[in-house]
Symmetry: C2
Subunit: 519 residues, 2 copies
């Protein structure tokens, strides 16, 4: 038994039994250790952005961290963008990053870099294992931090010699880590929120994190039904339970002007595990803070606190019984489009209508799928996972990880084409692991969001240089060929009929499939 | 004219007229500025690793930096692995990374991160632009550092408001940056090297950087011919001039045991812009330092010094006239294989034999192409660009950038399949820019280097977990479909005849092409 075994055993003792990996030479002892632990499921990604994004999707659905295995500073660097998203989502994750043997670092071999420095910006916690004997304790600390509610990104640097050094035979078996109990809200916060709601003035509950799920969401739904307060979610959330039998929660719009309009009449904004709304980007002459100055912002609960308890207490404080009715979506009046040229609106409405029961929707549709959230309140019950940190390239990996966590549920990925190309390698992992993922590519062949932003900047007619940076044409990406090349069957459609038929067929089968929806 | 215009103008005033880009919202003012400068060639990469790797390939061939345009911390993160390679190659590069407006950072919007911290590990120099008025001076500093011999990676952070703020009409036009003269070697270093060579004991000149090109290499070739010293290069070099009419330089082997054997009898190791050889990785019981302890290591010139001058001076000191003969490769005795099942050895020998005059060879062949270097001393004259920092995923981008720099030369990329998948998106850029790149995929469908390393670790029969992390099977990657999906014509071959024919056909045409060589 060596340090690498100790690390694996500590993960397994804490029920971390999936490792998304792209190892290199310095991790070979760890790979050899994994090879001795058949309980650990190892999932290879062909690029590290796939690895970290999949670990994010896995943890969002499994409600426990996965491990990742990455190769020195550059391998970690490749995974940073999706670590950024995971950090913003407060997804629990334990990254294991191999490094040179401790005595080898001084020679500045070609792959040497400052691994801590690379990890720091996108991790909540970074640790470097000192030696083989320290592995169990330091790994336990990484796990404890990762699991601390609402979740944290831990990055553990494993020098090769700490991995390969043998431990004495009498080394004790690793123990499960004890977590501190979650922080609770206090009565004052409850009273302040209740008072705002009772005032009769326009009040919005802005829900974040665990407030968008299960009994917490149900409590929010009862409060909304009984008092008329509006339920909203941050623009991007880690996981929302949604569908016809659940309280509808409106997403705060992404464009600054729409977000300001959305909040303009709010007098009391109650933050439930969410943050005071800020603009995603700054624009000349537009505000950074989105809520009106005269709006009273009340923190019902910080993201770290027990949101479920906070919302049930609030309902209780407002005298709403546990069996009171919850808000439900208004009836859907518009018919689902059935034919014609395919548009993003049609994709959104057909996808929302056909969504199977208990699906997991992963969403990196950026501009083209924004309307999906309007229609999906009427869909069959599902979980909706969003791009939380704005770093594109999360969609395909997120769906991959969610499908690993929930093999019995259908994963439907709404994927913008520009963003999808960032981590397209994830399709191969879906094929290898036979994951039940349906990917819908919104093939508008442009970075549409940037065209909008160019207009914001005052460029109405982009010139040659701008067009070549904003448009994904000349050549078109043939998603069907790319997908098939990576082992995932695919079809291209450009009519509503074609899309509807393709989606029905894809839902009727198991395993990965891709629809290139030309819009 | 605003800060973004000032940045573009400063780049152009310094003859930096190619910008590899993947912009986002915070860079829209910079994109609008680029749109007003038709002299700037903007090349879109569908992923930032493509952008930074292409800027590396461009600068290695153009002998001047390109600019890159990247989007905040995560966009920079995606480019880090190839920045690491560029930093190790000492490639000049000016990265422009957009960030939030200065006043917006405090609100910690979802895409906020510590951009300096992300940049630092893989940059020689990092600067944050203070305001629009400071753009020209700070950009000039970034350029000056980047160009300082042998080259540096400069990263310049551009807050959105510094980009969009207008400058007064009387702002002076940017001026070309003056570079400090390159440092020269001193007579003592020359005398020490000359004395070692004259000793008659086994001496190796270990050439790095500019010593592998042009008149510097020619001087080394004269010294080798006249004195019998051996010419060697570091395992990986930025750019080597090679071929039948040039002095053959042996690469220091990558495997530790072979490298130790290569150096075992050396009594004087003369470092010419190179570093004292160290093992790429540490292994239990194997040395980190590769040269024998009793070997006398003499620094003829640091990488920062004028290597051409140093080698000509050394030749002069040794009394070798400028028109003395240079070493030349021994005659090639083996016939090039003509038929049979394709192997990596056959690919290497056929590719070396068919290499057209003045080709640019980009090499990320890892294990499978190591023998290419043995045969390519007999090839037509060419430049050979290697993976310098060990961060895989450089090949396709490097070839892309080299082809942008040298539109009249054929680029031949030797690409391992596992590494190629890291930045496969570069194929699309090759298609869009009609680049004359031939990609040869060594499709062995495994991370072969890791199989070797597993054996080093003592695992002779990898189990299920190890095999699933080391082998690229189940499913195979269909490179032909992937390539065609990204707009690059492709063909698959598995015989020597098929490969020979495909390579001949590819060399007879212009534009991007890919051969999947199943070995």
């Amino acid at each position: 038994m060596n340090g690498a075994d100790s690390l694996c055993d500590t993960l397994l003792a804490n029920d971390i039994d999936v490792c998304f990996a792209n190892p290199g030479t310095s991790e070979m002892h760890f790979v050899a250790a994994l090879d001795r632990k058949p309980r650990m499921r190892c999932v290879l990604g062909l690029f590290e952005g796939v690895v970290t994004g999949a670990a994010d999707g896995y943890a969002r659905m499994a409600d426990k961290p996965a491990a990742t295995l990455l190769h020195l500073g550059p391998g970690l660097g490749n995974g940073l963008a999706n670590l950024h998203n995971a950090k913003r989502a407060r997804t629990p994750m334990v990254n294991v990053v191999g490094d040179h043997a401790t005595y080898h670092v001084q020679y500045d071999a070609p792959l040497t870099s400052d691994v801590e420095a690379v990890a720091q910006p996108m991790s909540h916690w970074v640790g470097r294992i000192r030696d083989a004997a320290s592995v169990a304790a330091q790994t336990s600390e990484a796990i404890q931090v990762a699991r601390q509610e609402p979740g944290n990104v831990s990055t553990l640097i494993l020098p090769a010699d700490a991995a390969w050094t043998d431990l004495p035979d009498d080394t004790p078996a690793p123990q499960p880590v004890r977590q501190a109990p979650q922080a609770q809200v206090d009565a004052q916060a409850i009273r302040a929120a209740a008072q705002a709601i009772r005032s009769g003035q326009a009040t919005t509950l802005l829900l974040g994190g665990a407030a968008l799920r299960g009994r917490a969401l149900a409590a929010a739904g009862r409060i909304a039904h009984a008092t008329g307060v509006r339920l909203a979610a941050e623009t991007s959330s880690r996981r929302i339970e949604r569908g016809a039998n659940r309280p509808p929660v409106v997403r705060l719009p992404y464009p600054v002007d729409l977000a300001v309009a959305f909040l303009k009449d709010v007098r009391h904004l109650v933050l439930v595990g969410s943050r005071s709304p800020v603009a995603f980007f700054a624009y000349p002459g537009k505000p950074s803070l989105l809520a009106p100055q005269e709006c009273d912002q009340i923190v019902l609960a910080e993201p770290e606190q027990d949101l479920h308890h906070a919302l049930e207490w609030l309902a209780d404080e407002l005298g709403i019984p546990a069996d009171a009715p919850q808000t439900r979506p208004a009836a859907l009046t518009e018919a689902v489009p059935a034919e014609g040229r395919l548009t993003s609106a049609a994709v959104n409405r057909v996808a929302a209508a056909l969504l199977p029961d208990n699906a997991i929707v992963c969403d990196e549709s950026i501009t083209q799928g924004r309307e999906f959230g309007i229609y999906s309140v009427h869909s069959a019950p599902h979980d909706w996972l969003q791009l939380t940190g704005g770093a594109i390239g999360i969609g395909l990996p997120l769906a991959t990880g969610a499908a690993v966590a929930c093999p019995d549920r259908k994963v439907v990925l709404l994927q913008a084409d520009g963003s999808g190309m960032y981590t397209v390698q994830a399709l191969w992992t879906q094929a290898r692991e036979r994951l039940d993922c349906l990917t819908i590519i919104y093939a508008n062949r442009t970075y549409a969001t940037l065209h909008g932003e160019m207009k914001n900047v005052g460029v109405i007619q982009p010139g040659e240089n701008a067009k070549r940076m904003l448009d994904l044409v000349d050549p078109h990406i043939d998603w069907v060929q790319v997908s098939q090349g990576l082992g995932v069957e695919a079809v291209r459609v450009d009519t509503v009929e074609g899309f509807t038929q393709a989606m029905r067929a894809a839902l009727a089968r198991k395993g990965p499939f891709l629809i290139e929806a030309v819009i």
